[in-house]
């Protein structure tokens, strides 16, 4: 479950931000997870609670926003919404799609004390 390692990366970022932004505790973390990113939100939530124990973010709320995925259709040149990597273009049926969004995995906002 690589979500554990991702939570450790989140903790590293929080520690760096705490030193730079002069805060001692994190109450809430808002993260963006694209629909096509390699992350299972439930596993991330589970790993988060475990990894943050005893840290500056113990008990913090993890808010996960799923960002939609979109792709450029190389046949009809429209940007179309997709749900999976192997979806066909909903406009023209072409399978030549290039994913242009939905792979995000980032921390957007922190509520700190």
């Amino acid at each position: 479950m690589h979500e554990m390692s991702l939570c450790e990366s989140i903790l590293d970022i929080l520690k760096e931000e705490a030193a730079a932004g002069q805060f001692t505790r994190v109450k809430r973390i808002a993260i963006d997870v694209g629909l096509l990113s390699c992350v299972e939100p439930e596993a991330l939530q589970f790993g988060f609670d475990v990894i943050m124990k005893g840290s500056l973010a113990e008990g913090a709320k993890l808010e996960i926003s799923r960002l939609p995925a979109e792709a450029l259709c190389l046949t009809c040149f429209k940007t179309v919404p997709v749900k999976q990597r192997f979806d066909a273009c909903p406009e023209c049926g072409s399978e030549a799609l290039q994913v242009t969004g939905g792979e995000e995995l980032k921390i957007r906002e922190l509520e700190v004390v």
Binding site: I13, R85, F86
Partner: protein, 271 residues
């Protein structure tokens, strides 16, 4: 006396209310997050950051990629599920490269050094990384392993990732190309079930093709499925056991090695 708010109540009561709320006959301040009250200041604040959660891994990966490019070494990240025949393919490949090309291997497994031992028998330098509970290699581990290897221009570094089609997908190791190995004893729908790993691969090797006569495996279907997930993926059909298709794989390695050296020669000429 209540030790939290100092009121005279001896009964358990909660303090989980807004800090300026009136509670019966007294007002609570200082129960906020900072444990103190400063007039005019909100105790918690919002910080907007745009921090890529994989940022640290990616920066280690960039360092690895730069170092390997400077040394003229082609690094390949080999990913697959357990039992796809990755190590056997690697051993057969190393035997053929032996004597002509400097080949190095980083072996990632949760436990044991069995695979590195098999590799060393071919004469190639091998470093075993045991990830313990970890389910993938990351760029930091690979960076340390690379320090221990004799990097030689024109050489190939094979990084055999932990057998897992899920977790390694997210972690760039600094490789020049990612190679996913799928064996014909697995399902044709693997590219759909684990799209991330196929979407990020440059080459797919369909291994154990010598078993096809004994199976109902639909080769055309798996090729079409892989291409639906990744239009640019190149595909080779190989049997590491019989040697069928290995020449094509060695040609691919030669071409990739040449690409890794092109820039290097130009850089050297410019110096």
């Amino acid at each position: 006396m209540c030790t939290v708010c100092g009121c005279s109540s001896t009964k358990a009561h909660d303090h989980d209310h807004h800090h300026d709320e009136q509670d019966g006959d007294h007002l609570h301040f200082g129960n906020g997050d900072a444990g103190t009250s400063v007039p005019g200041m909100n105790q918690s604040r919002l910080i907007q950051i745009e921090a890529d959660i994989l940022g640290k891994n990616n920066s280690y990966a960039d360092q690895n990629r730069t170092l390997l490019a400077d040394k003229g070494v082609l690094a390949l990240n080999l990913v697959s599920s357990p039992g796809s025949g990755k190590t056997t393919l690697l051993v057969e490949t190393l035997k053929r490269l032996s004597g002509s090309i400097s080949a190095m291997v980083i072996e990632g497994d949760q436990q044991t050094s069995n695979d590195a031992d098999r590799i060393r028998e071919t004469g190639a330098a091998a470093i075993q990384i045991n990830t313990g509970k970890g389910c993938h290699l990351d760029a930091h581990m690979v960076g340390h392993a690379v320090e221990k290897l004799p990097l030689e221009a024109g050489g190939i570094l094979f990084i055999e990732n932990v057998g897992n089609l899920v977790c390694p997908a997210a972690f760039d190791l600094g490789e020049a190309a990612r190679v996913v190995i799928l064996s014909v004893t697995e399902g044709e729908d693997k590219p759909f079930k684990y799209p991330d790993i196929f979407a990020n691969a440059d080459l797919m090797i369909l291994n154990k093709t010598d078993l096809l006569p004994h199976l109902d495996f639909d080769v055309e279907a798996v090729l079409a499925n892989a291409r639906k997930v990744n239009r640019k993926i190149k595909i080779l059909q190989v049997s590491a056991r019989t040697g069928e298709g290995l020449d094509s794989w060695l040609n691919w390695l030669d071409a990739a090695r040449a690409m890794q050296l092109v820039g290097l020669q130009q850089d050297r000429a410019a110096e």
